[in-house]
Symmetry: C2
Subunit: 382 residues, 2 copies
């Protein structure tokens, strides 16, 4: 086991009706900026619950943080924070709204431009405290200190890290109105967040392995019920929300190596082609597993046995079957697993490879996924 | 899934050589009281590491917090805190040292007696901040806000809750000198902490079930290696330490019912007969499982299948085999599983039952374990 430091101070407030607790959780002595996405929270009743809980608070609203939040939009919110003396941020919506809000929180306390901050995290000097009402199980943003920000002008998408949400309220009933595609992408995103923290070396931490496998097993088990939109099964959606949060809050990552190559390559597909995050991941992952099949052999075999029950055949056969089971699971969610299905051709692959070559990118737990290996990974996913 | 609020702010600093980080973690502007147990830290080198890291700090030492910390001892430390203007407490040792320190932390800021505080938690009004260097995997005290305090004069032992440690440093190499019996009791304690949060109802949270089972599976897997004292296998002891911490920090308890009857009955055996905590638990648990076999049937069957691979036979047969497998596991640790093996007779059972009758005690997830049921549980463990 590797040495590690773990601390996650976010207060998780979980369950039906808990949005009303906002009134006891928010600071009464600060001006609050409430940030929103495109308006789905007005259709599903979340907005009304938030407004009711905010009665008596001094707050402003900022609307329009889009999926894969663009720095161009966030700059406007940063201006509002500076102009209106905002002392607390509350993100209401999905992971993109909260991700964008995390950058706003840090960019509002410095003079430099928000994108400069993404490119140069050393500019960071604190942040406005922030919290969330999370309505979409997927990113885990509600209990971690990361966010991913896009730049429309440059076609870039990068991760940025600042602080943990003070609190996050998760009410599973707010997920009932999510469309199937968003549910599928959320399941895939959660699954692959865990894979990134798990599918590296064997034996680093037997307990973390079990916990990672526990999230994967739970996602596989609940997926058919999650996708059955007509059911609105509270316990199923609660399991989904809890799994998404626990999948990326550090709880399965203590003392173990991490990969994240699939995410880094996937971000490029979103930046260049606008493909939804979870959808990019399921296309890339089978390629990463196949190209790294020797390096990751032990862990792929363990994963295949414990999550998919694959125990028969030679090691190479079991690895093939495990990669195939993983891809089939993603297809069972209704997601595409080939670039061609998404209209992505060789030109995009070449652009990504060219970017990685220019940047000298090296990904994965062994930092051996360079531009050439990325080329092989992506070409087999065409 | 039940609604829940989760927050655990403790910073966990884990790994070989990390005690040296004390110098960066402790407050420089406060007088520190460092609390110790009976002196094993002087024999295993931990004391020297702590003293080296504390160079330049203003600190005092308090020695002699015993196993099952006694309020009689802790009162002396409370006096020191008040007299010496102590602003931070650092517990160095096992769970008892830290448990005692938690009570000191709260008792030092009130006028009333420390035992009054245990009996009446409403007297609590804050605490001196505290942290730990934890050297014994067992109690989980290093990452939770609970402690268990004994009263020598009255022969009582009760739990008390205040605040989380600011930080806890866990270096697995500090466990190499633990005697076999302490290792065995630590494994049993960890195992049964998880059982208390797991062996209730089915279906409340599939993810928490997986995580609880993950700790149980890990403990079963590493136990033979942990008990092989001559090996000093770092990764094994690291897994043991991590499992003990994760077994009682709230991470497996989100949205699920809890039991704790085994602990409450076990505390009486310690209070009346001085039996080591982990040893009391393994005697009591099989009796609780057997008497509650109908109420807990679904979860016992799930536990039997996932942890012990028991899938054949009728439900009643599988429950019998699962209880038996659990007891055999404890015996494989070298622990007694019968009261008679520990010299405990009917008189003690009668005293415990009489206490529960007087107090109107009702234990377990359904609050249906009263004095009469406790009598049946204990008599079958004679």
């Amino acid at each position: 086991m590797n040495n590690f430091v773990f601390q996650n101070p976010t207060k998780l407030v979980f369950g039906k009706g808990e949005i009303a607790k906002l009134s006891t959780l928010l600071p009464k002595d600060k001006r609050i900026l409430v940030t929103f996405g495109g308006g789905s929270v007005k259709r599903n009743g979340v907005y009304d619950q938030v407004v009711a809980a905010l009665e008596g608070f001094d707050y402003l609203e900022f609307w329009g943080i889009e999926p894969n939040p663009k720095v161009e939009t966030l700059r406007k919110a940063v201006e509002v924070c500076k102009r209106e003396n905002i002392g607390f941020l509350l993100a209401v919506g999905g992971g993109s709204t909260l991700d964008g809000t995390k950058l706003i929180a840090s960019a509002a306390v410095i003079e430099e431009d928000a994108w400069e901050l993404v490119l140069n995290p050393k500019l960071q000097c604190g942040n406005i405290p922030f919290a969330s009402v999370m309505t979409l199980p997927a990113t885990g943003s509600e209990m971690n200190r990361g966010c991913v920000i896009s730049n429309l002008a440059t076609g870039e998408k990068f991760a940025f890290y600042n602080a943990y949400p003070t609190f996050s309220i998760l009410d599973p009933t707010t997920t009932y109105t999510l469309p199937s595609f968003q549910r599928a992408c959320g399941l895939a995103d959660t699954f692959i967040h865990v894979i990134e923290q798990y599918l590296t070396y064997t034996g680093e931490s037997p307990l973390m392995d079990r916990w990672a496998e526990g999230v994967l097993q739970t996602i596989v088990e609940i997926a058919p019920k999650v996708l059955n939109v007509s059911e609105n099964d509270y316990d199923t959606m609660a399991s989904f929300m809890l799994s998404a949060t626990m999948g990326l809050n550090g709880f399965v990552a203590m003392g173990v190596s991490q990969d994240w190559a699939t995410h880094r390559i996937g971000h490029e597909l979103t930046a260049l082609c606008g493909i939804t995050h979870g959808q990019t991941l399921v296309v890339v992952l089978p390629g990463v597993m196949n190209e790294l099949r020797d390096q990751k052999a032990g862990k792929i075999l363990q994963y295949g046995e414990r999550v998919w029950g694959i125990t028969e055949g030679s090691a190479q056969e079991r690895i093939d079957r495990t990669i195939s089971a993983t891809e089939q699971f993603f297809r069972s969610l209704g997601l595409a697993t080939r670039l061609s299905e998404l209209g992505v051709g060789e030109d995009v692959v070449e652009e990504i490879v060219s970017r990685f070559r220019t940047r000298g990118t090296r990904l994965g737990e062994a930092l051996n996924i360079d531009y050439a290996l990325t080329d092989r990974i992506l070409r087999q996913r065409l």
